[in-house]
């Protein structure tokens, strides 16, 4: 599968900015840098869109524009939390009004598939439209759905994206569960001291994928695999080795490994063991200090890897060990809460 175009809205303004001087955030929370939506979306439609919908729709439109394809054969989105803010609004109103009055717009737009639906409405696209909600596998499930369509030749190109938002309420609730660091000087110090909790994040990343090369692709997604609750780092190590063996990939053929290290001692212990045992002496990189942790953060990693391959450079700010200036093949290994593990193998076109 070929990544014909990639676009995203994240706490970082652009890949170029990540290369030159990534935005550093104080504290334990990263928020997306939002563009001027009126340049992308009809203002009459914007008024009804919550922040996550605007982010998703704008990223999708940017991606389509970059690909030169106006009408995709399918639109597939992956999101774990869906339109949280709208859900909060209508649930709060229900309580405030003693279940007597709902806010129609927030209620209608609170469903997980609103972003995919809004993209279709804007494009007047009546093609296949699906939203996958699978917690830490939401984006991977969307990609697998896209792969199925391409392999079955039911679509020539698919617009696929991963989106999740962080709201004040979700941040407060997840903080109470101990998900985020209690004290963190800034986003760059995330990995310096291993502690309980990570850094909160959000983002929207979209890709135009096709089964055939276009001649101007960002990258080729050679393989993707997921495994759930592998049962310890040894089993995880075995899964990764099996993945590489099954696809005939030797370790020396991988130039860069991007892992989902997030500063949480419990989560990073898995990465540490895998890096020592499987990726020893490999150039490794990390990305959660740029986008934060969220269930579809792997979509940001894919966006980042696709740009590294397209631009033939690795931003210095993501390198963790080794040096890899112009990678030709990248492996992404990310896990969400040590339950949802995903592997992506990409190569330059």
């Amino acid at each position: 599968m070929y990544l014909q175009a990639a676009a995203g809205i994240s706490p970082q303004p652009s890949f170029e900015q990540i290369c030159s001087s990534p935005v550093v955030y104080p504290g334990n929370r990263l928020s997306c840098i939002e563009p001027d939506y009126t340049r992308r979306i009809d203002p009459r439609m914007i008024r009804r869109m919550s922040r996550i919908i605007r982010m998703g729709v704008a990223a999708a439109l940017d991606c389509l524009k970059a690909s030169g394809i106006g009408m995709p054969d399918a639109i597939i989105t992956g999101t774990a939390y869906g339109c949280l803010k709208d859900t909060e609004v209508f649930l709060s109103k229900m309580v405030e009004n003693k279940e007597d009055l709902l806010t129609p717009t927030a209620f209608i737009q609170s469903t997980h598939n609103t972003i995919g639906a809004q993209i279709a409405l804007l494009l007047k696209c009546h093609n296949y439209n699906n939203t996958l909600v699978q917690r830490g596998f939401s984006f991977e499930s969307a990609l697998l759905d896209a792969i199925s369509l391409l392999e079955d030749r039911e679509a020539k190109n698919v617009l696929v994206g991963g989106i999740d938002e962080l709201t004040d309420t979700s941040f407060a609730l997840l903080s109470r569960f101990g998900s985020y660091r209690r004290s963190l000087a800034d986003s760059t110090s995330l990995y310096e001291e291993q502690d309980r909790g990570t850094i909160a994040g959000e983002g929207a990343a979209f890709f135009l994928v096709s089964g055939e090369p276009s001649g101007n692709d960002y990258a080729k997604l050679e393989e993707i695999d997921t495994f759930y609750k592998p049962g310890g780092a040894n089993r995880t190590e075995a899964y990764i080795r099996d993945f590489l063996t099954a696809h005939g990939i030797r370790m020396e053929e991988i130039d860069l490994v991007i892992t989902g290290r997030n500063g949480n001692a419990k989560d990073d212990a898995v990465y540490e063991q895998i890096e020592r045992a499987v990726f020893k002496d490999k150039a490794t990189a990390r990305f959660k200090h740029l986008c934060g942790e969220y269930p579809t953060a792997s979509s940001f990693a894919l966006w980042l890897a696709a740009h590294c391959l397209k631009e033939k450079k690795t931003p210095a700010g993501i390198l963790w060990s080794g040096m890899e200036a112009a990678p030709r093949r990248i492996l992404i290994y990310n896990h969400y809460q040590n339950t949802h593990h995903a592997l992506y193998l990409l190569s330059a076109c």
Binding site: P43, R44, R47, R48, N97, L101, L102, T103, P104, T105, I108
Partner: protein, 83 residues
Amino acid sequence: MADLKKQIIAQLNLKNLEPDNIGDDQPLFNEGLGLDSIDALELIVLLQQDYKIKLTNAEEGQQVFRSVRTMAQYIMDHQPGSK
């Protein structure tokens, strides 16, 4: 009517509009402000929430929500103690 216009703008999130941009007799739907059926639901909520007026007859809505003036009139006619 200026207050009602402000409430409509807030309820429908019409960020690009000021109360002065809405004419008293300008149609709210179709060729006027261009509101749609979801906005109609929001206006029903506005009446109930801010004025404690429950619009029970759907057909009545077409007349009530024709313009800001018709809405204001309906509110005045149905305010507690107006009859």
